[in-house]
Amino acid sequence: MFYKGNPVSKGIALGKVYVYKPYTPEITEKTFEPFRIDEYLQRYKDTKASAEMELQRIHALLSDKDPEKAKIFAAHIDIVNDVAITEEIMDAIQYDHFEPDYAIETVFSKYIKMISKSKDPVIRERAADFQDVKNRLIRNWHGIEESNLSTLSEPVVVAAYDLLPSDTAALDRKNVIAIITETGSFTSHSAIIARSYEIPAILGIPSLMSFIRHGEEVIVDAISGDLITEPGKEQIEQYTLMRSQYIKKVRESKEYLDKEPLTKDGVRIDIGLNIGSGNDEEIGHSQFSDFVGLFRTEFLYMSGDSMPTEEQQFEVYKNVLSGFKDKPVYLRTLDIGADKTLPYLDLPKEENPFLGCRGLRLCFDQINIFKTQLRAALRASVFGKLCIMLPMVSCIEDIRSANAIIEEVKSELSEIGIPFDSNVKIGVMIEVPSAALIADMIAKEVDFASIGTNDLCQYITAADRLNPKVTQYYQSYHPALFRLIDYIVSSFNKAGKPISVCGELGGDPQAIPVLVGLGLRRLSMSSSAVASAKAVLSNFTMDQMKEMAQQVKMLPASEDVIEYLVKTQNIKE
């Protein structure tokens, strides 16, 4: 039999089902004789203390091994000790003479019901934490030992209605080969745990608990979301093969991280990184990249509660530039306004902020902020290969004005004898259609450019990328976007100036062959996208990618482009 659910953690598994039914409290309405109030209050306090002790123990156990998971239990300790809940439970015992388990049930259930109805998915998911703490308290009241998935005797597919944080706290990772549940979605606790342990998982399989049998053999295809019960011999063979192919593919794609980025016919493509904070982890990624295609400097401005000083900026830029040594770093100057604001900088509200004073426009408006950043960047330029990249350029005048300001800062530095690299390259982000359409003119005025596909896409489709009502109009595969990229890339290639892509599209495995086919040789992306990008490149020859780019340019609709790309890539695999 075939059953469908949401595949939330990819993989394939075949094995025996272990039906996991956690402790479910059975509560009936019970009251006690009023003269026993003190005794019951004391017993409630003891129950609360022993529940907290259990949590402290798990928390201590996890804080070294898995600090992320330890946080969940720190939150549970907070819930156990919550002032409002404790007060209400004590009141129910004291004034209504509810037995503590009934008091706990009543108070917790009221709140669980309330947050389960929240419009916000983040809050709704938290109901699981409260459910979990409630059960722990009631179990402790009844003096029942905790049962969990920490010791399993053989590899199993765990089937459950839902997995709560405490069920998975000490999960026997060696023996859990897959997780299937009746409820849950991509953001639920079970999904997060499954992904972090790389355990295949399908959640939200309707009425799973009514048909699944303990000990039966199943196939879990957590790529497509299929659960197969009573599989035939052929299916078992087929999925065993698929499983080993999938594992091989994952392993290979990880191996690609260190590989040289070459197309199937050996053409070298430069892979850049998009970085933000400039911390050691990001700098550590320099070994498998060729340049930094986007250093978002906003982080520096957004992390503090005041404008970063020239010295603070200088230290961060110096660290990044010396970390990447001879690899170029495209430092994008402050790009705020529209969706990105600074708490300490009071900017006037605009009717249409995405078409307003943002990016370079804001820097022209707040010239001191801009000059401070340029000074810090130029001073740091002696430690590496700095390239200054200007965001939100919409006309040639923008470039000329920015150049004049950069020259001014340079001469100020020279006057007081502060050294800087006089060969610092100046480039622009191409993300506004008016700039894209004069790419040939821009190429004459700058040293390099990078295409910001996210903003470019929202400006050419006239669809706000943060407005959920128009997501269907924000089409990353709109043929117009590819036509425009084609024009920008050929203009820069003709002028012999470096051109790269640093938007989402640059790290999208499906789009990469098209971008390279359009003539791009420099792609910048987040570090997590690098391995699969290198793997994709090695799958295609230049001729194949050129052909794909030609085809895509001639397709009328975004959906046609997607269909074509899925088809061609599947054939390659």
């Binding site: 002032v83 409002a84 929240s118 809050i123 604001t341």
Partner: protein, 90 residues
């Protein structure tokens, strides 16, 4: 009694970690502190209780009112307003 208003600016709202940070910070003061969701006219609720804070469902853009009564009321409200305005480091 001391009262001030502000607007939630961090992108996840007063939900996961920011809610815990907020409640822990409120718990450090002696005064009784309440929080009210002005936008949806809900509350006031106990600002020292995580469940009360969560039940107000305060996403980004929500206007809130903080009130405190007690010896450190002004300090408490000012501190918590500043915490909300800082965006909880998001």
């Amino acid at each position: 009694m001391y009262t001030r208003k502000t607007t939630i600016i961090n992108k996840t709202g007063l939900h996961a970690r920011p809610a815990s940070d907020f409640v822990n910070a409120a718990g450090k003061f002696k005064s009784r502190i309440t929080i009210k969701n002005i936008t949806e006219d809900e509350g006031p609720m106990n600002a020292k209780s995580i469940i009360h804070v969560l039940s107000l469902g305060m996403g980004p853009g929500t206007e809130v009112e903080l009130s405190a009564q007690g010896e450190d009321e002004k300090e408490a409200v000012d501190f918590l307003i500043e915490l909300i305005d800082s965006g909880f480091g998001e």
